[in-house]
């Protein structure tokens, strides 16, 4: 005889029978979020379908219709609705297609939230003295990073935080490492997060929302170098600087020693030529000053020189003036010689003067019996007028 059960008792008993953890693989359909908290979707295969229920907080992976997933959960009939569903504890993506879809979904979500904004990227310190590295200590990635770093630069301290970079523990350990560097006074100026290449599944930890948020939330600037040249991870986008590989991360965080020394020499050269320019300028300025001063001094001096030169020309001038005079005097003396009365007397003429010594030119000037002096070339006589004959001679007229 079967026991009659109430509906509640029935569901309770059934739930007891079916209790347990199951892993079910299938394709997502009818995915929807209710009130921002509850997630409902169907998991189906070619022949069957099962309802799934999850909370937004418990679901670690973004889902979309068509994705192939493994659901880890327990089956339950809900008392209120009588609906049978699988309560999801964890979801694992199956196949690259699903991973890719989940990756793109999370990328879009975080992008919209502003985690990848270029404006928030910080500049790295140019010459770090201490670098924190989050990596697997024994990985080729860390080996490459150290090798390139040593080739390029000296004098930097590296604190390595050894973490799992794939598998279950990876996300937690990476997040803890970020927390460690950001809370302990390690003095690290840059955090470098590195991992070698791998499939999308291998790199899952670097595409996990928690890891990306740890990168985003780091107070210390982060350089992320995950995978090969072509690989991209969401941590890359959230980091302040994205390196294409772990080796590239080393190239980013420290300068090349040879380049640096060239820069040093160049700097020294620049300040040297600047100083040299200044010296040339100063010299030119002094020369200009000197030129100005000497021209001020030279102008009165030049006047003196000019005066002196003029003065020196004076004797010549006088000399020529003198010779003019000399010629004049000579010709004058000849002239004077010609008109000297003495010369006339020498030729046989004589000169008559009255008592006052005045030259007598006309007979009318003399009275009869008047004494006068007759002057010869040599000597003179006193004479007296005996008779006078007043008549104009031709010669007189000529004179």
């Amino acid at each position: 005889m079967l026991v009659v059960l109430s509906v509640s008792q029935f569901i309770e008993q059934i739930n007891g029978i079916i209790a347990g953890e199951f892993v079910v693989e299938g394709e997502v359909s009818q995915y929807k979020v209710s009130q921002g908290k509850w997630i409902f979707f169907d998991l189906k295969d070619e022949r069957a379908v099962v309802n799934c229920f999850a909370t937004v907080f418990s679901l670690n992976t973004p889902l979309e219709d068509g994705m192939k997933i493994k659901v880890i959960g327990y089956p339950k009939i809900y008392e209120r609705s009588g609906r049978f569903s699988l309560t999801v504890q964890k979801v694992e993506l199956v196949g690259d297609g699903s991973l890719k879809k989940a990756y793109l979904l999370l990328k879009k979500k975080l992008e919209e939230e502003g985690l990848f904004n270029k404006e928030r990227k910080r500049q790295l310190i140019e010459l770090p003295s201490k670098i924190g590295v989050i990596a697997s200590r024994d990985s080729a990635a860390f080996g490459d990073f150290v090798r390139i770093l040593n080739n390029r630069w000296k004098g930097v301290e590296i604190d390595i935080c050894n973490v799992a970079v794939q598998g279950e523990k990876a996300v937690t350990e990476i997040c803890e490492a970020f927390n460690f560097f950001n809370t302990q006074e390690t003095g690290c100026e840059i955090i470098v997060l590195i991992r070698g290449g791998g499939s999308l599944e291998d790199l899952a930890a670097f595409n996990d929302e928690a890891t990306v948020r740890a990168v985003y939330g780091s107070k210390i600037p982060v350089v992320c170098g995950v995978g090969h040249e072509r690989d991209e991870s969401l941590c890359d986008f959230a980091a302040d600087v994205r390196a294409s590989t772990p080796s590239n991360a080393a190239e980013i965080v420290v300068p090349d020693k040879a380049d640096f020394i060239t820069t040093l020499d160049f700097s020294l050269g620049r300040i040297y030529s600047s100083l040299e320019n200044k010296i040339i300028k100063e010299r030119r300025r002094i020369e200009q000053f000197w030129h100005a001063i000497s021209s001020i001094l030279e102008s009165p001096l030049q006047k003196c020189y000019n005066l002196l030169a003029e003065f020196e020309r004076l004797p010549n001038l006088l000399q020529s003036q003198l010779s003019i005079y000399r010629v004049f005097v000579q010709s004058a003396s000849v002239l004077f010689k010609n008109i000297d009365p003495k010369n006339v007397l020498q030729r046989g003429y004589s000169l008559a003067r009255d008592g006052a010594g005045k030259i007598i030119r006309r007979a009318s000037q003399l009275d009869v019996n008047e004494e006068f002096v007759v002057e010869f070339y040599e000597g003179q006589v006193i004479a007296r007028t005996i008779e006078k004959e007043v008549k104009k001679s031709n010669q007189n007229q000529l004179l």
Partner: protein
């Protein structure tokens, strides 16, 4: 130089950069310029010496 723990590489480099910037000015004072050039030359030589003597140190953190 290697024994001189007090040498601060980043600070010395920043000082050198400051000097370079100072020299970019239009009008520099000649006397200061000579002083700063000497400082710059010393910084360059110290920085080079430092790079020659230093090694990178790796330490694993215990969590």
């Amino acid at each position: 130089m290697s024994a001189d723990k007090k040498f601060n590489f980043a600070k010395s480099y920043a000082d050198l950069e400051k000097i370079v910037v100072w020299f970019e000015k239009e009008n520099i004072d000649l006397e200061d310029g000579i002083k700063k050039f000497e400082e710059g030359a010393k910084l360059v030589s110290d920085l080079k010496k430092y790079l020659d003597t230093m090694e990178n140190k790796i330490k694993e953190l215990k969590k």
